[in-house]
Every structure is written in C-alpha cells, then in structure tokens.
Amino acid sequence: MDIVIAQFSNTVTVILMVLGLYVVLARGNLIKKLIGLSIFQTSVYLLYVGPGKIIGGTAPIIAEGFDVYSNPLPHVLMLTAIVVGVATLALGLAITVRIHEAYGTIEEDEILKKDGDA
C-alpha cells in the first residue's frame, strides 16, 4: 500500500509536469502560457514534498511516543520555490498587461503580425 501511495504522488508529479510544459508550448495566448508555466512549477513542489513525507511520520519535534519523523527540509525549500513561483507569475502578468496596452492583444501570433515578424 505504501508503495502505491508513493507511486501515486510521483505519477501526479509527472502528469502535472508534462501537462504544464505542453500548455506553455502549445498555447498562443500569453495568459494561458503563464497558467501552464505555473502548473509546471507546481509539479516541482510535489516532486520535493512527496518523497519527504514518511507515512506515519510526524513533524520533527522530539516528544515521547514518536520516533518516526518526516523530513522538514523539502517543505522549507518549496516554501522558497512557491515565493519564486508567485513572483514569476506576478511579473509575467504585469508584462502581459503592458503588452496588452502596447499591442491591444495578448495572442502571440497577432502580436508578431503587428511587428511584421510573421
């Protein structure tokens, strides 16, 4: 049962990772691309936190009756990664707003057409 649960977490990680990357590459809408990017980054949180959890383990606090602990470090690392992800998304959206102001559209092909690149 433990193995199944561990594999479940890994399976979800891989699905999110590939899904996110696919959306980034396949969509021409700048906001949809950012959504894909966020999904892609989210898969990494699971990649770290999933294996850090030990079934039946508690928070690493010394107390009587508990001697199995989950690894706290991945959680701390992912806290940082979440902050980075939020900052990236915010900046991406801000740039998208500016693009909309400058071009009047957020579709990649229309923007390239307006600049005469396509």
């Binding site: 990772m17 980034v24 950012l34 990494v44 980075v84 990236t88 740039i95 693009i99």
Partner: protein
C-alpha cells in the same frame, strides 16, 4: 574582521543597496548610489581574488552554521575570477549608463532601473559564491526576474515581447535546474555542492542521478542559450536598453556556464567522468552547430544588436566546446573565453549603444558613413571586432588558441578547422558593419556626432581590455589554467 566577511558582503551589499536605491527618487542620486555600490563590489571581488590566489579556496559559513547543515559560500579560483568579471563589467557599465539611459527611458523609471540592476548584480554574484545547490536556484531567480524587468524597460514595444519570451524560457530553464537538483537531493540527502560530490559515488549508476544531471544540463543550457536553445536571446539583447544589454551579454550567460562547469566537474567529476557518459559527443556536436549556424544567421541580420546577440550564441559554442574537450587545455580555453568574450561583447554592445543614442535604431543601412562622424566609436568597434574574430594580439585570439591546442591535443584536426572557419564567418558579419561604416557615403543631412565622453571612456576601457588581455596573458590565462586544473580535480 571585515576581511573575513568579504564573501557575505559581496552579495549582501548590492542586495541591500537595491531597496535603498528604489527609495532615492531622484535619477541622478539613484545612479550615483548604484555606481558607488558597483565599484564597492569590484573592490570586494578584487580583495577576494587576491585572497584566494594567495591562501586557497575560502569557505564561509552563513550564520556560522556548519556545512552541510548550514549554507556555505565557497569561493575557489574560478568563482573568484567570475566575481571579478561580473563586478568589473558592472563597474564599467554604470558610468556609461547615466547618459545612455536618460535618453532611452522616462525619468521616473530610472531609479527602478538602477534598483533592478543592483538586484541582478546581487543575484549573479550570489550564484557565483554560493556552495549550496538550492541557494543557487534562489539567486538565479533573483538575477533572472530582475533581468526580465531590465529587458522590458527597453525603448521599443518589442522589448515587452522579448522580456515575456525570456521569462517563459528562463523560468522553464530554472525549473529544469531545480528538478535536477531535486533528483540529486532525493538520492543523496544533501544540497551542499562539496558534500554532493562526496556522496555521489555511493549511489553510482542509479537512474535518478543520471536523470538529475540531464535536467540540470538542459536547464542551464537554456539559461546560457546553448544552440538550439537560444531563441530568447537575440530579442532580449536587441531590444533591452543599451546599458542593460551590455551588462547582461557580458555576465548573465557567463555565470550560467560557470554553474555548468561546477556541476560537470566539481559535483559529477569524480563519480561520473564526462567521457563515460557520451557527453562530449553531444556537447561538441551542439557547440559546433552553434558556432557555424548562429554565425551564419548573424551574417543575415540587418539589426546590428541582433547580429551581436547571435554572435554571442556562436561564442557560447566556443565556451561549451572547451567543456566537451574535457582536457586541461580545452577547459583553460573555455574559462579564459568566458572572460575574454565578456569584455569583447560588452565593449561592442556599449559602442553600438552609443551609435543608437545618436541614430535611433542601429541597422546596417543607418551605419552608412558613420565612421567619419564617430571616428572614435568606430575605431573601438574595429578593435573589439578583431578580438571577436580572434586576430593575434587581441583577447579573442588567446582563448581560440587554447581551444585549437585542445582540439589538436585530441588529434581532432577537423575541429581546429571548424574553429577557424567559424572565425572566418565572424569576419564576414563584422565586415558588413565596417564596410557600411567606412566605405559607404554618409546620407546627406545626417547629424550623428561622437557620443559623450561619459559613454566613450567606459566603452574604450573595455576596448583597451580586449588588447591588454591579448598581449598580457599572465593574469587571465594563468588564472584560467589554475581554475581548469582545480576543476579537473588534480590538486591545485
């Protein structure tokens, strides 16, 4: 006392200076502050380099927590060398930036530009000094996020799309890196780079380690625009403000290459020597493809900044070629080319930025007859262009010489021929610029004048550097040789 804390100060000074800079609402004040901090960073880097060269690698424990539990800043020869390159370029570009940016940006955005520049500097320096694989990611994102903003500030609206594309690809690159580090962490339980190197042999030949290495290599390659992962680079450098383009072209990609060296040689070097993993074949293949194809693409560009950016992709090929050679001579070539190409491309972007100031966009057509109006600028482009091509007596020659020696050492004469052929392609695209500037008549009514001295002097400092480091190779090649020696794991 203070000397002992130099590694921390190297990062903390620009990092704390950045928010202060945002509070100084006056453009001139913000500029003066950012310039002061850049020069202070250069002094710190120089002190660190002398310390490393005399007493060996420095290990600094953040908050006095013992590694591998705490974060360790670890500075050896190559990282000290990179610190000097990054801070040196920053210190030279800042005096240039004031006039150049005032012409390109509205006044109320200038303090934000300097804030972002300081953050970018702090991020790049942090990536270089830290000895912790996850800490690298944090600094990488600080540097990247601020550089997206720097690019988005470019004067044309195309800068916005360029910044957006760089944001998408840069974030994918950084996320690939962090996935790779995640695999290594799962298998070894440590994030400290020195500790990783020790523990990897214990989990030798397990698939997650190989997968982790692959993710790290691809992620970093996206960051330094290894051909064919370079699509973000030409737009980003072409449409960014001139000062930002010069700073990033000379430093950002170089620091990513440095990280790759770190992982290939320091972390994996002992457990997984490169030749065992067929990496040299892939690496040399991509490098050669980049050197030739990106140079050919550069020839067909009309926008001079795009041309220089594509030439950067080709030059990155030279650097990765030395990594693929996996010999001390080849690696020396790589490390010295990191430095030499940094100053050469920095000089070219500064000089072209000066032309942009007077003519607006810089296309081959707009360069017609410009040599008569801006003789000093064009003379600088000639010399830096010679260094880009690799003419003897310039910095570019020194690095190509080592790479050719490395190729011949392996008995690969064809590779030496490819290096020369790629240099000839550089002659063609630099030749297009020079032909337009020197031989074509100037269009009537053109009012181009020499750029102000505050821009010309910094640009010429780098131009003189191109010649200086071509004639006096003691400093660069000697340090690069020691760095290569240490990376390959033979006692320094």
């Amino acid at each position: 006392m203070t000397l002992q804390h130099l590694p921390a100060l190297q990062v903390v000074v620009p990092l704390l200076a950045a928010p202060l800079c945002a509070l100084l609402r006056r453009p001139t004040l913000a500029w003066a502050w950012a310039t002061l901090v850049s020069w202070a960073a250069l002094v710190i880097a120089a002190l660190i380099l002398t310390q490393v060269l005399t007493t060996g690698p420095i290990s600094y424990w953040i908050g006095n927590w013992q590694p591998p539990w705490g974060i360790e800043y670890r500075i050896d020869t190559i990282s000290a060398f990179m610190l000097v390159l990054v801070t040196g370029i920053g210190a030279v570009v800042m005096p240039y930036a004031r006039v150049s940016l005032a012409a390109e940006l509205p006044a109320d955005r200038l303090p934000w530009y300097y804030t972002m520049y300081l953050l970018c500097l702090a991020g790049l320096l942090g990536m270089t000094v830290t000895g912790d694989a996850f800490n690298v990611f944090v600094f990488m994102e600080i540097a990247s996020l601020s550089s997206y903003v720097l690019i988005a500030m470019g004067p044309s609206r195309r800068a916005l799309m360029a910044a957006y594309q760089y944001l998408i690809l840069g974030t994918i690159g950084a996320t690939f890196y962090i996935i790779g580090v995640g695999f290594l962490y799962l298998m070894t339980g440590t994030l400290n780079i020195a500790d990783l190197a020790e523990r990897l042999p214990l989990v030798e030949n397990q698939r997650p380690i190989i997968v982790g290495l692959a993710f790290i290599a691809v992620g970093l390659s996206l960051k330094f625009a290894l051909f064919p992962l370079h699509f973000w680079l030409p737009g980003a450098y072409a449409y960014a403000p001139s000062a930002a383009a010069a700073f990033m072209a000379a430093t950002a990609t170089k620091v990513a290459v440095y990280l790759l060296l770190r992982f290939f040689f320091t972390v994996f070097g002992e457990a997984y020597p490169l030749p065992d993993m067929a990496i040299p074949v892939i690496w040399i293949g991509l490098s050669v493809a980049g050197m030739i194809l990106a140079s050919v693409m550069a020839i067909y560009q009309d926008d001079v900044k795009r041309m220089l950016a594509l030439s950067s992709v080709a030059q990155i090929g030279y650097i990765t070629l030395g990594i693929g050679l996996d010999s001390e001579v080849g690696l020396t070539g790589s490390v010295v080319h990191l430095f030499n190409h940094g100053i050469t491309k920095g000089a070219l972007f500064l000089l072209v930025g000066g032309i942009a100031l007077t003519t607006g966009t810089v296309t081959i057509a707009s360069l017609s007859g410009i040599a008569r109006r801006m003789p000093l600028t064009m003379a600088g482009i000639v010399i830096a262009g010679m260094s880009l091509i690799g003419i003897p007596g310039t910095a570019g020659f020194v690095s190509k010489w080592y790479l050719i020696l490395g190729a011949i050492e392996e008995g690969w004469w064809w590779l030496a021929a490819v290096i020369v052929a790629s240099s000839l392609l550089a002659v063609v695209y630099m030749g297009r610029i020079l032909e337009a500037a020197y031989l074509r008549p100037a269009p009537p009514g053109q009012e181009a004048r020499e750029m102000p001295l505050s821009m010309l002097i910094p640009a010429w400092i780098l131009v003189i550097g191109c010649v200086w480091f071509g004639l006096d190779t003691d400093l660069t090649a000697d340090i690069a040789g020691r760095a290569a020696h240490a990376l390959l794991g033979r006692a320094p």
